[in-house]
Symmetry: C2
Subunit: 248 residues, 2 copies
């Protein structure tokens, strides 16, 4: 390295340190939910930071100057799962000073819901894997808090909004749907009352087909009605909230 190159390099390093100190980086982190084997799962990757050796982290990236928040989230989803037609919802911004060991990084957390069978990535090749939410104890950064926050939001959401279907294949039985609710909410539901409640919501169409891969009496298959199949949501939880009132 010539002396000139050295000087340039030094200047660059100084500039970077300067940036690190005075600026705040901003990222998005995606809690990608999937559903398989009667369990709610999250897509995690092995952390590449030595501070977090052995721990997993969410999928995320810095936001680029020319993309907005949703674009950044979709980029991550597309890169990691190959899917671009997914349900996505912003949940919360996390910005404690100490949350990232390399510097100040504020992150905006999203969760997304995908059909786990529908993406084609070879997960095992790149240390990317699905983990049951219930078994996640510790993650890199504050990612455990982010997962918990997103799960809490999802639990609120599914009670009133037909978003859960993004986790299922197009055709599903009422049993599968009930098991999914149970996995998300962490409770057992009464089958008769569950069916009554779903039926009142009028979200489903009976497609006049039966299950054929079950070792017992097959159930009817249903689809979500077309009008509810808007997968892309922005600000959805505020703008399309169900109208309840403290009185009438």
């Amino acid at each position: 390295m010539t002396e000139k190159e050295l000087r340039l390099k030094t200047a660059e390093i100084e500039k970077i340190s300067h940036l690190d100190y005075f600026n705040i980086a901003i990222s998005v982190d995606c809690v990608i939910f999937g559903y398989d084997e009667k369990e709610l799962k999250v897509l995690l990757i092995k952390s590449d930071l030595e501070e977090f050796a052995g721990l997993h982290s969410l999928l995320g990236d810095l936001i680029r100057p020319d993309e907005d928040l949703e674009t950044a989230s979709y980029r991550i989803l597309k890169d990691r799962t190959g899917l671009d037609d997914v349900y996505l919802e912003q949940v919360h911004a996390f910005g404690s000073i100490e949350r990232h060991p390399s510097g100040r990084v504020i992150t905006i957390a999203y969760y997304s819901l995908i059909d786990i069978k529908h993406h084609k990535l070879q997960l095992s090749h790149n240390e990317l894997n699905w983990y049951p939410v219930s078994e996640i104890k510790k993650l890199a950064f504050d990612h455990k808090l982010i997962v918990d926050t997103c799960l809490a939001r999802l639990q609120e959401k599914v009670l009133e909004h037909p978003v859960i279907f993004n986790l299922l294949p197009e055709k599903f039985s009422l049993r599968e749907l009930q098991e999914l609710y149970q996995a998300i909410l962490g409770v057992e539901l009464d089958r008769r009352n569950f069916r009554k409640k779903i039926s009142i919501k009028d979200w489903l169409v009976d497609i006049d087909e039966m299950e054929n891969d079950v070792p017992h009496r097959p159930g009817k298959l249903y689809k979500l009605k077309g009008q509810y199949k808007k997968r892309v949501h922005q600000l959805s939880n505020y703008m399309d909230a169900p109208s309840t009132s403290i009185d009438g």
Copy 2:
């Protein structure tokens, strides 16, 4: 200016341009709600950007490298209202590329609830004023969207959580409380049903005093029970959500 000074200055300007181009600034904006004259109001300031001449904007500021998001929000509240014991809740991050005319700025929106009579600032002196939410048509930046989003969130919140009391003085009558709900929700409520519902929630204590400044039969005065008087909330809307279930 010597040639050396000029070189230094040039270098600095280049560095700043570099920062502007490659970095994303991050701010918090506060929708400060107050309640007066039977109307929900928001604290707004005249915009000092010429692009938004004549328009008002929310109170906000860039986040400093050494403060977290809540600290920044509280700093703004303290600076502008003199209050530091306020209810604060994060709502949403807004990050479209074009939302700020001077560069890329992502903002994290909070709303806060304060007792409008309780802060002592001379508002008229610094172009800071309270405006009825219902009369706000157009604001600088995307601040109208931010106000709408925060109002929608507040509307959801008040149905189940005792946060509304942060907008009232310590002692209030049921009529005042009902009028406040009406102002926030934008609906008329039936007095008998409203009182029944509030009574079931068991949030209030009868302090055995009466109104004394009303030109009609005075009503009883109430206080919020002490256990609900936690004014500072973080992640509150997810962590302390009421438990409803799709079945039981």
